[in-house]
């Protein structure tokens, strides 16, 4: 009844090309933005921000980044954790070297640095394909984590080998460090998520995205019709790493505050983000959000019901979480290989005809 394109007349090319061509979609999008920016910051407390909102927003950026690489360009990467570490350490070095510069610039610069590193590790993708590439990206994962562990310059020669974020402000409001208000951290991440999602959405429906998808569907055919695989693959690596770097920077500076690289950015992080992309849906920006929300909420829910509600020991709940996540991935792959985003698409198709399907 509400969700339809009929009667929604467009009188200019700009209108025709807008991100959400269907009116209902557009208003829903505005409503979500208003809710996220103007309502949520006033009602959240410390627990909600740290347990749900910050991880969700930050993982959403990482999932968007990985989705560009895996879902749109078809280059499977298992090095996400390593690239997040690059973002974290880049922002750490920038924060401590230039304390007066705004955090916004630091985080973006961290993304740029990660993009450069990503392109470097993306170079082999021109020769190596498929599984071989997936395994080759593990080289990035292990090498980068080792590097940050072993070279004292990266952690400013601190005795513990950890990095911890000093207090930095944006417009006079502390964003990192112990004094941060929950709403400030939330809004800071939200701005990045929104901008990243808009950029990603528009990149993927423009020329760059179409080139990536051509490479994904069949790289030789794409080359024949005039897509330059070098450019397409490397831009995908660069954009993807840029997002992943931003998420790593936020993960360290705003969310955790102190990081031990092997623990936080290990191989498990790479898999976690990959799972978000798969469960959410390969090749869908909405799917990245859905996947991130799902895998952030699931442990919180399980922990609250099993440990808080039933009084189970925590290690047992952790095992059950492994079982459930593993089973869910398999079930999703069997039932719906295109993830939550496909379910949403099907729902929308149904909505267009609702309530009179015939």
């Amino acid at each position: 009844m509400f969700y339809r394109e009929a009667g929604d007349f467009k009188t200019s090319y700009t209108e025709d090309n807008q991100t959400f061509p269907i009116k209902f979609d557009r208003y829903r999008y505005y409503a979500v933005l208003v809710f996220a920016f103007a309502v949520v910051p006033f009602v959240i407390n410390d627990y909600w921000v740290n347990a749900v909102f910050l991880p969700f927003l930050i993982y959403a950026i990482a999932a968007i980044g990985l989705n560009i690489l895996v879902g749109y360009c078809g280059q499977v990467s298992l090095g996400t954790g390593g690239f997040m570490a690059v973002g974290a350490y880049a922002v750490y070095k920038l924060m401590t070297s230039f304390p007066d510069v705004s955090m916004f610039i630091h985080v973006i610069l961290a993304g740029v640095i990660t993009a450069v590193v990503g392109v470097l590790f993306g170079l082999p993708s021109l020769r190596i394909k498929g599984f071989y590439l997936a395994v080759a990206t593990l080289a990035a994962q292990f090498f980068l984590v080792w590097l940050f562990n072993r070279v004292p310059w990266f952690y400013n020669y601190s005795a513990s080998g950890q990095i911890s974020a000093p207090e930095r402000t944006v417009l006079g409001v502390p964003i990192t460090g112990a004094e941060t208000a929950p709403w400030a951290a939330y809004l800071f991440c939200l701005v990045f998520v929104t901008v990243c999602a808009i950029i990603a959405r528009n990149l993927t429906r423009g020329m760059a995205g179409r080139k990536w998808m051509a490479i994904r569907d069949m790289d030789i055919a794409a080359e024949i019709i005039g897509v330059n695989p070098l450019k397409a693959k490397l831009t995908a690596f660069a954009v993807s790493s840029f997002f992943v770097g931003i998420s790593g920077a936020l993960f360290f500076s705003v969310y955790l505050g102190a990081v031990e690289v092997g623990e936080v950015f290990g191989i498990n992080k790479s898999f976690l983000v990959l799972f978000m992309v798969i469960i959410g849906g390969l090749g869908s920006i909405f799917g990245s959000f859905a996947g991130a929300a799902f895998l952030v909420l699931l442990p919180v829910l399980l922990k609250n019901t099993l440990v808080g509600g039933l009084g189970w020991p925590t290690d047992l709940a952790a095992h059950l979480e492994f079982i459930i996540v593993g089973a869910l991935i398999i079930i999703f792959l069997i039932a719906e290989p295109h993830g939550l985003a496909q379910l949403w698409r099907v729902t929308k198709e149904k909505l267009r005809l609702w309530p009179f399907p015939h």
């Binding site: 599984f131 593990l138 562990n149 069949m218 898999f271 189970w312 095992h319 079982i323 593993g326």
Partner: protein, 329 residues
Amino acid sequence: MPEQLIWGMEVFLNGLMAGVLYALVALGFVLIFKASGIFNYAQGVMALFAALTLVGIMEGQVPFSHLINAIFGTEVHHFGWHVPALLAILLTMVVMVAMAWVVNQLIFRHLVNQEPIILFMATIGLAYFLEGFGDMMWGSDIKKLDVGLPQGLNPFIDEVTYNIFGYGFFIDNLDVVATVVAALLVIVLVIFAQYSKQGRAMRAVADDHQAALSVGISLNFIWVMVWSLAGFVALVAGIMWGTKSGVQFSLSLIALKALPVLMLGGFTSIPGAIVGGLIIGVGEKVFEFAIGAPYLGGATEIWFAYVLALIFLVFRPQGLFGEKIIERV
């Protein structure tokens, strides 16, 4: 002879032994990949699961005891008997075969004709599931595994090398046993694949699913068989690694070590897995000894294998012995 060189030789030998263990895990990968085109990430976790089950059966642990205790408030832990090692190994093998059957029935039968990458992701899911399942079934504490394999310094090698170089090499008995077992396993597998009826059927399936179906080979049976074989290889690898460093979570990470071995050797080649394993094992030990520890701050073993495989692949994308990749539009 200079001391450095002799130490280098000892490191080389130890690397060779470690390489055999890598090859053992890689072998399981190759088996499944050849027969079903599935790149089985769960191989390492299968080794962990097998080792956990073996210990659990030997010690007479009650499966899911933690879960039962948490739900019913009871205090059960052990049945109170000890099963001899050989019988326990046989029982574990039964469990692995059952697991192969369940995995095939519940997962991979439904994923026939999907893209390889989807199958790969499914095995990652399986790895997560098995890891949680194994821990829940037997508990996640570090366990000692002792099935009566010899351990410690090998006096024979120590004595011989002492007579030649004036310096006794330290070679673990367990590594020697592992080498022998791995060599035997490879010979048995090759003979099985080349000369037995089932082995031929397996190769036929690997070659072409439809053609194999049309001459009356049951795909389901072959797949269950291959997963059981991989379970068997996982059990052997689990026993070796478990005896060496205890049965614990890190056991499943050897799968990650086996990946560069596979890349180097090529996914489709059994000899490739062996040679790749040896190269990686020797390479990382020698690199750590000669360059890593003195100049780079040590622990280079974590990444050396991957970087080596990465550089190698840039020049030869199908690995050492892999089939040449031909792409058509």
